[in-house]
C-alpha cells in the first residue's frame, strides 16, 4: 500500500505547466504512474496527446529521460532502449538499476502500435507498457479507434440520422496482451490511485514485459465538464465498464470489486458522446453495450474465483 503523504512529498517527475486540457485524464495517468516508480525510470511516448502537450520545444514536462520516436513504435523504441541499457550495463558503462516505461494512447496501442507491442512482449523486453486509454484518437480530433465503445459518437463514427455512432464493440486488448503471457498485466484507472500505484510497482518489479491498460477519461472527446474527470473514472469501475483486475503467474485477480454494480446508463448519461443514445428510436446500442460489459464482468468473476 502506497502512502499518500509519501507520494505527495516526492519530487515531481511529470510536472505541471504542460498544455494538457483542464481535466485531462492522460496527464493524471503520466503523473501517477511516475509517482509509483521507486527506481529511476526512462520513459518513451508514442505520438499522441500526451507527447504533444508535454514536450513543445523548448519546454518539457518530463523530469525523467524521455524519448519520442513515432506513432506506431513506442514498444519497439523502448525495446531498443532496454537492449542498449543491457549492453552498456554489461560493459559497466551504466551503473544504476533502471526501469523503462512506454506510454501510448489507445490509438498507438490497440491499433497502429499493436504489432510492435506484441513483438516487445514476445521478445520479453523488461519494459512496462502503459496504455492511457481514452477510447478514441483524441490528438487528431476524436476519431474512432478499436477501443471506442458501441454507440459512442466520434468524428468518424458520428451520431447520424440512421447510424447511432459506432456500431462495433470494443477490442479487448488487455486479454490480447494476456494471451502473450506477460510477466504482469492489469487494468487500472486513476480514481483508484492506490490500486494504480500498487499495480505499477508490481509491474516494474516483474522480471519481464508488463502492461497496464489505464482508463483515462477525456473531457473533450467524451464531452463532460472538466471537473468531472475523476468522477467519470470512478463510475467506469462502479458500472464494470472498466473492471480493475490483474493477471500474473497464470491467475486473474479482481483488485477492486464494486459494492453494487451500477447500470452503464449512469456512466453513459454523464457524457455527451453517448447523448444521442437516449433519444434514439430503440435501446439496441445501450443493450448491446450493457451485454458486452456483463459478459466480460461475469467471465472475469469466474476466472478470478477459479484462482481462489
Amino acid at each position: 500500500m502506497a502512502k499518500l503523504k509519501e507520494l505527495a512529498a516526492q519530487k515531481e517527475k511529470f510536472v505541471g505547466g504542460h498544455r494538457g486540457c483542464a481535466g485531462c485524464g492522460a496527464a493524471i495517468v503520466a503523473r501517477q504512474v511516475l509517482m509509483a516508480a521507486e527506481n529511476p525510470v526512462v520513459v518513451g511516448a508514442a505520438t499522441g496527446c500526451l507527447e504533444v502537450f508535454s514536450t513543445i520545444y523548448p519546454y518539457s514536462a518530463w523530469n525523467v529521460p524521455y524519448i519520442h520516436n513515432a506513432f506506431e513504435n513506442v514498444a519497439a523504441t523502448m525495446a531498443g532502449v532496454e537492449a542498449g541499457y543491457r549492453a552498456l550495463k554489461a560493459k559497466g558503462k551504466v551503473k544504476k538499476d533502471l526501469r523503462f516505461i512506454a506510454f501510448a494512447g489507445d490509438g498507438g496501442t490497440y491499433d497502429i502500435g499493436l504489432q510492435a507491442l506484441s513483438g516487445m512482449i514476445e521478445r520479453r523486453h523488461r519494459v512496462l507498457y502503459v496504455c492511457y486509454n481514452n477510447e478514441a484518437y483524441m490528438n487528431t480530433g476524436i476519431q474512432r479507434s478499436s477501443a471506442t465503445p458501441r454507440g459512442a459518437h466520434t468524428t468518424t463514427s458520428p451520431a447520424g440520422k440512421v447510424v447511432p455512432g459506432k456500431l462495433q464493440l470494443r477490442k479487448n486488448l488487455t486479454e490480447i496482451v494476456i494471451a502473450h503471457e506477460p510477466a504482469y498485466a492489469a487494468q487500472a484507472t486513476f480514481a483508484y490511485w492506490n490500486d494504480l500505484v500498487t499495480k505499477v510497482r508490481k509491474a516494474l518489479d516483474a522480471d519481464g514485459p508488463s502492461f497496464i491498460n489505464v482508463y483515462a477519461p477525456c473531457r473533450l472527446g467524451w464531452a463532460y465538464a472538466p471537473e468531472k474527470t475523476v468522477k467519470v473514472s470512478k463510475l467506469s469501475v462502479e458500472t464494470c465498464i472498466w473492471p480493475l483486475y490483474e493477471y500474473e503467474n497464470g491467475t486473474y485477480r479482481i483488485s477492486v470489486k464494486p459494492k453494487e454494480k451500477k447500470p452503464i446508463t449512469e456512466f453513459l448519461n454523464m457524457q455527451g458522446r453517448f447523448g444521442h443514445l437516449f433519444n434514439w428510436k430503440d435501446d439496441v446500442p445501450v443493450k448491446e453495450y450493457q451485454a458486452e460489459v456483463d459478459f466480460i464482468w461475469e467471465r472475469l468473476l469466474k476466472r478470478s474465483e477459479a484462482a481462489g
Binding site: P40, V41, V42, G44, E51, V52, T55, I56, Y57, P58, S60, W62, N63, V64, P65, Y66, I67, H68, N69, A70, E72, N73, A75, A76, T77, M78, A79, G80, V81, E82, A83, G84, Y85, R86, A87, L88, A90, K91, K93, V94, K96, L98, Q115, A116, S118, G119, E122, R123
Partner: protein, 390 residues
C-alpha cells in the same frame, strides 16, 4: 588474413569485428544472410551484442533509434521493401543525429515484385539525411562497413553502406580482412553528448518542434551533412594506413586522358573497368568514374572527374519516374551547370530488376559515346538500355 567470402558474409564478418552493442534486424532477401550469420556470432558467444530479432523492419529500425539514444553502437541490415518499411524512421534517426549503420543490399522495389538488384530502394531513401556509400565488390563492402561506423559517429549522422543484391551479396570473392583486434582499436569508443540513460541529467529526446525552432534544427542537420565529406576522407585515410586499401570519394579509372567516360555506381564499376581495359588495348581513350559516396554528393570531386571527358554516359540502375531519367544523371547535370568544362551527357537507365549488364554491353555504350563525340550532338538524352522494344 585472406579469405573467400560473399558480400553478405563479408559484411557480417565486419559486424562481428565491430562488435556493436545492439543489432536489431529483420531478415529479407537478399540481405537475410547478414542477419542470420550475425545471430550465429551472438549465439556462439563471438560478440557481446544485444541482438533484437524484431517482428518487422519498422520495429527493427525503431529499436535501433531507441538503442542508439542510450549511447550504444548500433547496426542493422535490410533491403528493398525492408528499407521502404523503415522509411518513416530513417528521417527520425537522422533528425535525432543517431549514428546507426545499415548494411543495405540493393534490390528492386515492388511492384512488380522482384528480388534482384537495382538501386531503387537505396535511392528512394536518398533524401532521408543518411550518408550513403555504394560499394563495387566484396572487399569494398567489408572495408566500408567498418569505415561507415567511424564516419557516422564522427558526423553524428546515420549511414548506409550498400552492395548490389546477388551480384555482390551472393558472389564469392577474395577478401582481405583486418585483424580482429585492429577493428575496435580503429573505431574507439562511441562518444556522445547526451545519453537517454543519464537519469541524473534527464533530457527530452524527440520533442515537438514547431514553427519557432524546427527550421533551425533542420538547418543544423543540413550543416552536419555539409561537414561529412572531409570526415569521410580523413577516416578513409586512416583506414588506408591500417589496411593498405585507400578509398576515394569518387573512384576514377583511367580518366587522365579519357575522351569518353561512363559514370556509374555499385558493381557495374567492376564490369565497366574490364570494358575500359579491353578498349584501351585497342587504343581507345576511355575512362570510368564511379560514384562511391552518393550522399552527401561529392560535388567538387565529381565535377573534376567528369570535366576530364568530352562525353559521359551516365549509367543509372534506377529511374526517378519523373520523365527526367535516373538519379545519378540528374545529380551530374545539376553539378555541371556552373562548370566551365561541360561534357555531353547521355543517360542510360539499365539493369532494373537485376537484368544483367555485360562487358560487351558497356563496350557498346562506349561506342555510342564516341559517336556523340564525333558529331557533338546527343541524339536522345535518356535511353532505357537493354529493354525490349527500345
Amino acid at each position: 588474413m585472406i579469405v573467400a567470402r560473399t558480400g553478405n558474409e563479408a559484411m557480417a564478418e565486419a559486424m562481428r569485428q565491430i562488435n556493436p552493442d545492439v543489432v536489431a534486424a529483420y531478415p529479407i532477401t537478399p540481405a537475410t544472410e547478414v542477419v542470420q550469420l550475425f545471430s550465429k556470432f551472438v549465439h556462439d558467444g563471438q560478440v557481446d551484442t544485444q541482438f533484437v530479432p524484431a517482428e518487422s523492419e519498422h520495429s527493427a529500425i525503431s529499436a535501433c533509434v531507441g538503442a542508439s539514444s542510450t549511447g550504444a553502437r548500433v547496426m542493422t541490415s535490410t533491403a528493398s521493401q525492408g528499407i521502404a518499411l523503415m522509411h518513416e524512421i530513417l528521417f527520425i534517426a537522422s533528425g535525432l543525429r543517431l549514428p546507426i549503420v545499415i548494411c543495405l543490399v540493393n534490390r528492386a522495389l515492388s511492384s512488380p515484385i522482384n528480388i534482384h538488384c537495382d538501386h531503387s530502394d537505396s535511392l528512394a531513401s536518398r533524401d532521408s539525411g543518411w550518408i550513403q556509400i555504394f560499394t563495387e565488390n566484396t572487399q569494398e563492402a567489408y572495408d566500408t562497413t567498418i569505415i561507415a561506423v567511424k564516419v557516422a559517429e564522427a558526423a553524428s549522422l546515420p549511414a548506409m553502406v550498400t552492395t548490389d543484391g546477388f551480384i555482390i551479396s551472393h558472389g564469392m570473392e577474395r577478401v582481405e580482412l583486418v585483424d580482429d583486434e585492429a577493428v575496435p582499436k580503429f573505431l574507439g569508443e562511441r562518444k556522445i553528448q547526451h545519453s537517454l540513460l543519464d537519469v541524473d541529467n534527464p533530457k527530452t529526446f524527440g520533442a515537438l518542434d514547431l514553427q519557432d525552432y524546427f527550421f533551425e534544427h533542420k538547418r543544423s542537420e543540413i550543416d552536419a551533412m555539409d561537414h561529412v565529406l572531409p570526415i569521410i576522407e580523413k577516416v578513409q585515410d586512416e583506414y588506408g594506413k591500417l589496411s593498405g586499401r585507400h578509398y576515394p570519394l569518387v573512384d576514377e579509372y583511367r580518366m587522365d586522358d579519357a575522351e569518353v567516360a561512363i559514370l556509374c555506381m555499385g558493381s557495374t564499376g567492376g564490369t565497366g573497368k574490364v570494358a575500359v581495359e579491353r578498349l584501351r588495348e585497342q587504343g581507345k581513350k576511355v575512362g570510368l568514374v564511379r560514384c562511391r559516396v552518393y550522399r552527401p554528393f561529392p560535388k567538387e570531386a565529381m565535377v573534376a572527374a567528369l570535366a576530364k571527358a568530352k562525353v559521359v554516359g551516365v549509367l543509372d540502375r534506377s529511374d526517378t519516374m519523373s520523365t527526367l531519367g535516373g538519379h545519378l544523371y540528374n545529380d551530374a547535370r545539376s553539378i555541371l551547370y556552373d562548370s566551365d568544362m561541360r561534357p555531353h551527357l547521355k543517360n542510360y537507365v539499365y539493369g532494373l530488376g537485376g537484368r544483367d549488364i555485360s562487358i560487351e554491353d558497356i563496350e557498346s555504350i562506349y561506342k555510342e559515346l564516341f559517336a556523340i563525340q564525333k558529331t557533338g550532338k546527343v541524339d536522345k538524352d535518356i535511353v532505357y538500355f537493354g529493354v525490349r522494344g527500345e
